[in-house]
Amino acid sequence: MTDMTLPFAPVEETGHGSYLDEGHTLVSWLATTDHKRIGILYALSITVFFFIAGIAIGLVRLELIEPNGMFLTNDAYDRLFTLHGILMVWFFLVPSIPATMGNFLLPLMIGARDVAFPRLNLISWYLFVFAGGFVAYMLISGGADTGWTFYPPFSTDYANGHVIAAAAGVFVAGFSSIATGVNFITTTHMLRAPGMTWFRLPLFVWAIYAVSLVMVLATPVLAMSLLLIIAERAFGLPVFDAARGGDPVLFQHLFWFYSHPAVYIMILPAMGVVSEVFACFARRQVFGYSFMVYALLAIAVIGFMVWGHHMFVAGQSQLATLVFSFLTFIVAVPSAIKVFNWTATLYQGQISFEAPMLYSLGFLGLFTIGGLTGLYLASGPIDIQVHDTYFVIAHFHYIMVGASVSAFMAGIHYWWPKVTGRMYHEFWAQFAAITMFLGFNMTFMPQFLMGWEGMMRRYHHYPPVFQIWHVFSSAGAAILAVAYLMPLVYLSWSLKAGARAGNNPWQATGLEWQTTSPPPKRNFTRQPPVSSAPYMYHETGQPRSSDDRRPIRPHGEAQ
């Protein structure tokens, strides 16, 4: 293991400034192999994709105010929601936390100088941008109209959009995902600081590790299935064409074998982020650390076995439906346990409500609702009623947007001083966090109602009886849009005018806080030995009796 350890900076280099001062040219960024800079490159690119996808769905929500639409044709409508889905899933949510915060923080948290394969890390970003190029081509040339799910035979024989460009973009983005996953797995195995045993890893590292396993194992299946779609559409290879002996349902199995675990790719890192934040702002050890670790791993493993619950109405056998229903209930157990543990972490804490904490509390509420409605979808008869309705839309947005994006914002604010050395504006951040929570619920709560009543997803024209709910939902979306734009403004502003943060503004225990903010290029001047469990905000068995700024016991001893 030791031969993998990368050299640390010699002591005389420590007078140097942060990684941000290691060159200010464009080339110094585009040719960097520094995990921190790559994390920022990812953050900037996914922000662009997030807002393009946001504009697409903004137009859709505006259009849906009227039952028969206002300004879009049916085809334009289909293309907009397809663009929204493809960009949000593969170009924002999948890389969101792992590729930005994972990249930036994983080496810092385990006391390493960089990831195990720094150049592969840079290549993964270029692959991601290259994949974005395919999608940009698809967008400029008129878009695709299959939905993000690419179901044949519609996608192979009937769709009239640029399906091949879209599928190729997602195909390439998959390789970026795999490269990142391989890198993180290796880094976690090989580059932990002395004394950083597996059960001393922060939960964020565990989450990134679990998600990397899922990425490496599931993404190849997506690549296969999309390649087959491309082959069938471009060259007529009869894999899914039933008329020539193929099977369209086979694609659904392959697709969901990736895409259900993909939901866990989007939520596991979010669980990691809020575990850090709850511990820090409640000044508590995470309740049931080892159970949290096992729950993460259990979700990652069982998540591979539940894909069939997407096909309860696709004509699969009753037996298959029962088995997948059972497994879906099982995968909900570790998720529930995590919710209980976060709640219990607050017990006897010294809780303060800075923006990261507000976002994390928002996560907890939205994840609970998203998780519980998942049980509805695991129940066969209920799923048959709400399959492909707005109920499903609301459910997965609660998990993937409500919960994941809240956690993403929690992480951005929590580590902002670490990344930039500056503090964001606390009042605006708290205001944005609360607005986001309210706007989100206003957007998606009505969708549960109309979904149960029979409002179908992907409908441009809809029965006027549902108009009232659509108007509510669109109004909520407008509030949500404001809440998403606010951080863009005050965070940019803080880069110039924010107060200097100091090295550890939150008095947090994590190794990443034991170095300077922003960290030097090589992270630590010497590899920090680790001698205790994470989250030592108080001695085990002794709660913090007051909110004094008594020094916490850091996770390791850097510098």
Partner: protein, 318 residues
């Protein structure tokens, strides 16, 4: 169009689904209220600097709590699984001798065909208090027939039959719609189901333009398309199986397997005759793909069914 067309529970099954839904709602609401109460209490009581006393729990007790709520959650979820699973199984096999309605979906319409031969587009009449079984296939992409008031939906696949059944017990006009994204006019692929009294159904059926019923149409096709050239038990010189009493019976295949001769099997024999081969016959039959339409296949199968009138109807679902 009113909301009742969607949310009325028009069958006993639909009401049981609603019951399950409300049980889930009750459980979820309880869990949410408990959690929110706990979180809000902790937020106030243990806010930074509050005077509330803080006494740490012993490690052992923490373990007990952890195991306690894991087990409790597991059993609660298993109860929900059991409840929903039973519901699903109860609804899995249609009663025998259900009224059979054939559905052919294509971009962007549903064609319904009654046993009497009457055809409707985006509208279907069914009698109340009568088991109805829909036999569905698609001519192009995957569609899905969804009838919210009956709480049922099922994908309609190209080159395959899927089934949907129900016994409505309320008359009225209800919404039906396509649930699987199928292209440009997906959201316009909708219509209505008229659930009428049995007398009205008979009256409606007799008022339709009189033609042959499905089985007779199939009989004619059987001769015009050329099936009878080989499959006619009298007079044919070609060694081809007799099709009397085929439907609903087991067929011995040349590779040793036995399969049930259901709609899907008959359809496959017409379009992909070499996929399976009955024992004792040569693979002589040509494919009729492109020769017969989906609607004609429906008629041919109806005719073959009439040849084995005594046969017990098999369940729609495996």
């Amino acid at each position: 169009m009113n909301l009742g067309q969607f949310i009325t529970a028009a069958s006993p099954y639909a009401r049981r689904v609603d019951e399950t839904f409300w049980i889930l709602n009750g459980l979820s609401a309880t869990i949410v209220i408990l959690l929110v109460a706990l979180i809000v209490t902790f937020m106030f009581r243990y806010r930074r600097g509050s005077p509330a006393p803080r006494r740490e729990l012993p490690e052992l007790r923490k373990h007990e709590i952890e195991i306690g709520w894991t087990v409790a959650t597991f059993f609660l979820f298993m109860f929900m699984f059991w409840w929903a699973g039973v519901e699903l199984l109860n609804a899995s096999s249609p009663p025998k001798h259900a009224l059979e309605i054939h559905v052919v979906a294509k971009q962007w319409m549903f064609r319904f065909q009654q046993p009497s031969g009457a055809r409707e587009i985006n509208e279907v009449h069914v009698p109340v208090d009568t088991p109805v079984r829909m036999v569905m296939t698609s001519e192009d992409v995957i569609h899905d027939l969804f009838i919210p008031a009956l709480r049922i939906k099922k994908d309609i696949l190209p080159d395959r039959y899927t089934y949907l059944w129900f016994t409505a017990d309320k008359t009225g006009v209800f919404h039906l719609t396509c649930a699987q994204f199928c292209g440009t006019n997906h959201s316009l692929m909708a219509g209505q189901m008229d659930i009428v009294s049995k007398q009205d159904y008979v009256r409606w059926t007799t008022a339709q333009p009189q033609g042959d019923d499905l089985a007779h149409q199939g009989d004619k096709l059987f001769h015009t398309v050329g099936c009878s050239g080989c499959h006619d038990s009298k007079g044919s010189t070609i060694h081809a199986p007799d099709l009397h009493n085929l439907y609903g019976h087991l067929v011995q295949l040349s590779d040793g397997r036995t399969v049930l001769a259901d709609e899907a099997y008959l359809r496959d024999k017409i379009l992909l005759p070499t996929r399976t081969l009955p024992a004792g016959y040569a693979p002589d039959m040509p494919s009729f793909r492109g020769v017969v339409t989906e609607a004609q296949i429906v008629a041919l199968i109806a005719y073959l069914k009439s040849l084995s009138a005594g046969a017990g109807r098999q369940g729609a679902e495996p």
